[in-house]
């Protein structure tokens, strides 16, 4: 039986510490981990909880992130509740095994502290690693602050382990701006948190010697496609389960989360679509513009990146009576395309009646600051698009970039 960890009603925790406490309260059986900035404290703290008797689990030190996720897969296939953490290069090294975990339908929780990908080497926060994982078949949730970095991992276990889901879940938070920023966090009582997550129920576990089972089988052209289709359906069908778990969490804590968070969208003429710690910046900028210039700005913040919430994005667009222009803010180098949010939101908006103008900004790469004034400038630019009835700038632009103005493509809509 684990030792009791004393908690105050309100704690001052950074995102990393908050996440590690959630893993402790979920009583994870196995954490196989390799340290990397800025996610190291999550697994470092978890290791200390194990060493000090606060968790009845195992901490497995491995030689790389590839081995870390491989160890997690083995432990999950064996029948345990499993979690780990990583960032950036470590995430990239994990990618091969991420696809194994989702294909094998193992509900592992991976807490990802988002950081840029080299080259040039950079330890600061952007969303390159989050975007790298978006086709891996995992559910991806995004925490915007420390409280959410504590709340969402608890929800993640419950979502992934649901019998109709059985998929691995990533919980993202921004490197440093969330992971290393201490904020007030309201933790749950240990028993309340554990009971919310519930006992782990294994499926086809290898340690059930009465039913020997093969995991990770090879399939060729005669079987592979059916298995991938079934897996995709499970991911698409996880949406109501995510909604239900988030609703149960609200009932327990009063803290409400949705697959798409919307702020001031009811009467918004223009909207920013944005992720992570920048969401709070954008909300402040929108409030100021409403106050100072009467500009009706709303914010759409996808909480769930995968399965991508086409349904709720379309609702957000169609439910705003006056929406004219949207700007999608992508914090990842786009690699010869538009940003991910631009692509996903555009495709969702295309089948709405509103069909607003949509443009794309790349911003904040490698931890480049994104401040309120810049957010306001971008919002006012959207107002100019709305007034003109078409996008008046390049469709893709770069925010906060030194040197000559950089942009790509112009609209063909008049």
């Amino acid at each position: 039986m684990a030792e009791k960890f004393e908690l105050n009603e309100v704690e001052v925790w950074d995102g990393n510490y908050a996440t590690s406490q959630a893993l402790r309260q979920a009583q994870v059986d196995v954490v196989a981990a390799y340290p990397i900035t800025p996610s190291t404290p999550i697994v470092e703290n978890y290791g200390s909880y194990v060493a000090n008797g606060f968790v009845d689990g195992e901490f497995v030190m491995v030689e790389s992130e590839h081995a870390a996720m491989s160890g997690c897969i083995g432990a999950a296939a064996a029948g345990g509740r499993v979690a780990t953490a990583t960032s950036s290069q470590g995430f990239a090294l994990m990618v091969e095994t991420l696809y194994q975990a989702s294909g094998m339908r193992l509900p592992i929780v991976l807490t990802v502290v988002n950081r840029a990908l080299a080259s040039p080497l950079n330890v600061r926060g952007d969303h390159s690693d989050m975007y790298l994982g978006r086709d891996s078949g995992w559910i991806q949730l995004d925490a915007f602050n420390s409280q959410e970095a504590y709340d969402l991992p608890l929800c993640a276990f419950k979502i992934g382990e649901d019998m109709s889901v059985r998929l691995p879940v990533m919980v993202h938070q921004d490197g440093f701006t969330t992971s290393h920023k201490a904020q007030n966090v309201y933790p749950l009582d240990n028993d309340v948190a554990y009971n919310f997550v519930g006992d782990y129920v294994p499926v086809d576990e290898m340690l059930d010697f009465t039913r020997p089972v093969t995991h990770g089988a090879q399939t060729e052209e005669d079987w592979h496609y059916e298995h991938k289709a079934k897996q995709h359906k499970a991911l698409m069908d996880s949406r109501p389960v995510i909604d239900r778990v988030l609703a149960e969490f609200k009932e327990l804590t009063g803290r409400e989360y949705k697959r798409v968070e919307t702020y001031m969208m009811e009467d918004a003429q223009i909207a920013l679509v944005i992720l992570g710690s920048s969401v709070e910046t954008a909300i402040l900028a929108a409030k100021q513009l409403r106050e100072e210039e009467g500009l009706k700005v709303g914010i759409i913040a996808p909480r769930c990146i995968r399965p991508f919430p086409y349904d709720l994005i379309r609702d957000a667009i169609d439910n705003s009576s006056n929406l004219k222009a949207i700007c999608c803010m992508d914090k990842s180098a786009p690699g010869g395309a538009m940003g991910m949010l631009f692509n996903e939101v555009s495709s969702a908006a295309y089948t709405t009646n509103t069909r607003p103008l949509i443009s794309n900004y790349i911003y904040g790469l490698g931890g480049r600051d994104f401040a309120i004034d810049e957010a306001k400038r971008i919002m006012k630019e959207q107002k100019a698009h709305a007034d003109a009835g078409h996008i008046t700038t390049n469709i893709q632009q770069f925010s906060g970039l030194r040197g000559p103005k950089l942009g790509f493509y112009e609209t063909r809509r008049s």
Binding site: G103, D204, F209, T210, T214, H215, A217, E226, H227
Partner: protein
């Protein structure tokens, strides 16, 4: 006992299993080895186990082989070398008595022949088309020691 094993060993070509739709495949490609519970399977002989359709036991891959080992009981000393070395567990042995080859799973690699210590060998490789009785009829005789 029969070298054919139980009823479902090698009952179809690998890949000839029934193809079901995406809604019927197992979750996460988890494949149970046996039908139902089988706590004591480690203590059962292969022919006594209730292998399920996705265990390789039920699929034959005999068609992959172009040469085959033929076993000569008259010469064999039951040393079990071939049983130990066979990479496909295709040597059938019970109570340390060599019984023969599992032709449903043998790939014809010839390792059993290489490790056979008798003179002449108790296992020799022949063309897949060669009749086993014919092969046994023409078996080589013991090689004489050459005196210096």
């Amino acid at each position: 006992m029969s070298l054919q094993g139980n009823d479902n060993r090698g009952i179809r070509e690998l890949g000839a299993e029934k193809k079901v739709g995406w809604d019927e495949v197992t979750q996460g490609v988890a494949l149970n080895s046996f039908v139902g519970e089988s706590e004591n399977s480690a203590f059962l002989k292969a022919e006594e186990r209730n292998y399920n359709d996705f265990n390789s036991y039920t699929a034959t891959v005999a068609s992959w082989r172009i040469i085959k080992p033929v076993y000569n009981r008259d010469i064999c000393i039951d040393c079990q070398n071939c049983w130990i070395w066979c990479p496909d567990t295709s040597i059938i042995s019970r109570d340390k008595q060599m019984l023969g080859i599992d032709y449903d799973h043998c790939k014809g690699c010839g390792v059993c022949v290489e490790v056979c210590p008798t003179n002449p060998k108790s296992l020799l490789m022949f063309s897949e088309a060669k009749d086993n009785n014919e092969a046994l009829a023409g078996w080589p005789v013991k090689e004489k020691k050459v005196k210096n």
